[in-house]
Symmetry: C2
Amino acid sequence: MAKEFSRLYLLIPEIRELLARKEKETLKEIFYEYEPVEVAQILNEFTLKERVFLFSLWEIDFAADVFEKMDKKDQFALLRSIDKIQKGKILDELAPDERADFFEELPEETVTRLLSIMQKEEAQNVKELLSYESNTAGGKMTTDFLSVREGITVEDALESLRKKAKGVEMIYYIYVLNKKGKLTGVLSLKDLVLSNPGENIKKIMHTHPITIPIDMDQEKVAEKIAQYDFFALPVVDDRGRMKGIITVDDVIDVIKEENTEDMYKIAAAGKHPADYMSTGSLSTAKHRFTWLLILAITGLFSGMILENFSFVLKKVISLTFFIPFLMDSAGNAGTQAATVTVRGLAIGEVRVEDIWRVVKKEFLVGIILGLGLSIFAFIRAIIFQKSPFLGLTVGITMIITVTTSTSLGSILPLICKFLKIDPAVISGPLITTIVDITSLLIYFAVANLFFHL
Amino acid sequence: MAKEFSRLYLLIPEIRELLARKEKETLKEIFYEYEPVEVAQILNEFTLKERVFLFSLWEIDFAADVFEKMDKKDQFALLRSIDKIQKGKILDELAPDERADFFEELPEETVTRLLSIMQKEEAQNVKELLSYESNTAGGKMTTDFLSVREGITVEDALESLRKKAKGVEMIYYIYVLNKKGKLTGVLSLKDLVLSNPGENIKKIMHTHPITIPIDMDQEKVAEKIAQYDFFALPVVDDRGRMKGIITVDDVIDVIKEENTEDMYKIAAAGKHPADYMSTGSLSTAKHRFTWLLILAITGLFSGMILENFSFVLKKVISLTFFIPFLMDSAGNAGTQAATVTVRGLAIGEVRVEDIWRVVKKEFLVGIILGLGLSIFAFIRAIIFQKSPFLGLTVGITMIITVTTSTSLGSILPLICKFLKIDPAVISGPLITTIVDITSLLIYFAVANLFFHL
């Protein structure tokens, strides 16, 4: 779905005029009333020189907020064009998680150079975040959170919050740490605002905080945050020391990316490129070719089966006409079952323990679908080929192959899941190919019964 | 992915013992330290009678929080078993959006009966929320939000917040409404806590709030909330009056459900049932059969083409052996291109305006893939059939069909999007079927060149 256009677009002519007249004050104020993401969007309408000018007007925290929302390549271009002092200031001001994402894609020498113009503490923070695997909790978290010591009062906590909150994105949870940095409780700003100022925070804090291990896979993190209705969850290391938080908006991106990857796998389309539109045709083709070739090699077996039974096809050429129909129907039924199972596993609707219930169900579904399609096939054979034997052959094959397909389509993802292989990989085309081979073998076996080959 | 098990599971033996000894106070306190979602999870381990007993111990707001997190069918069972007064209290206390979802699945007479035991105001709220389409902003929003009048001070706003906050889930944004209920600004609790108490809120509020129209489709709502980094966005009617809010955690469910629907469509697997495991085989088969039959009917054309060209197959039977290989390869390549385009459209990576760039790219990708596969096919024909003519026929057909497939696979979803038809519907099997027909026609046309049929 295309992104909605910001209302700021209506102001573009006015902004152009202000730029022409260099009206600094008005230019500054006009943007402050809008969200950074909207400002970042309309920056695309201006030249790099104009962008550099605008960034020089804005206060650093606003500039950093806008910078965070820009596309990677615009960020690089801008950073190359502004002076060193402003560059350092903006980098210092960025949200730690967004900043780590930005640094991750830079060549090592650029990283070193940029770190050298930043404040020591901030540079250290970048290095720490870059040390975690990017698809784990550590790679997704931000180190920007509010913490207080155990045993203080509500008033003290609110006072400490007022002091530190300005530079912190998420102030709605305040984490209570002991002397060793271990997380012992969580306070929500709601609890603090509603409580008696003199109360000890120990009395109002949640003492069994839900936590995320720092090395947890991002997909599991997303699931865990979705399961609880918190806007953020704390990330802890293996000794229970708090290292950062993951907010719910980071989770949305992870869920989308994981779903995209699953769809690519089901379609055997290879790896999802960072940006489809700017990836070249050759590189796209390379991603897709491996799977096509694997499928083509397994597809050779279908050809070999046909070759083996070519004497049958020569005798009863009309058997050939039904091959695409049988293969497609079985393939489609298998893909349906496989996709439903893969997705069911992904959203927790189906569990590996349910294997027999699922397979039993898909077996029954296969019989019903096969029966329906076989009636259709039978009628077709009678009308066009006027051969009840052919009709029976195609009809019976249809029931057997469709049932086999739906059963295989559901059992294979479950076995993959059990063996800790990604179930999405085996769906789609691979199922189709397996099903192709089995349906041809069944077809010739059944044909043999009726035509005594 | 399976849901993580709560730490509360470890307490089950202890809870059983406490239940046996009817230790009310301890039983009450032990649960309060955990999250409602965890408590709802472990309730599955207890009988209905035990659950009813536990609910009778808990304070209403905790009971309502746990109730919200239970499965639909457990909610129904519990509600049937508790007394009328408690039932009314729990229903009054539920979050408005969760409550509307619960009522939505009940038969009308049950709705009327339950509404009659609720407070008037709350019953009215249910009716209002049920009046919106369930897949629009109105159907997803909650009416639980904090609002203040224009022109008051920060101190007044905080005071009003303290009064109303207890029953409200989302207190981190406070919406500023004028006398007519029109939204004129937004305050964050962060702004309030950090500002001078005597300041007029007009000075600190955001004056261009991002809003969601009440009839906006849930998919667009999800995209909009994901685009901005807010934890909630206000929902307004066509006159700008504020009606509710949508929080970011509601959005996660919408994104997952929309992705599931897209995957079902790509696999032509029909509608996603409310619960796969408990849906019967017959009903599942019904959902899937329509598409299988449509695909089977179009598949007849493949059969008719084969029948038409059966004289060719009789002459050169070895042409038959390559039919599954050609059809599968073209189908797989088409599915890859279609899935990538459908997903690209869904996540905003590809726009309809990009149609020529996308098709040009997929055309090139098709040529490269086709060339690779044709070399493979040519070698196979030479080795097994020792026929260079056959090799050339299959090879040339492969290049043409794969290029056609990737081009069609990308152009069809884009045309669908342009015509405002859901692009996911045409991917997958439908592409395969179209591609089957075109590849057979191309195959016989090319064969004609080499074998002079």
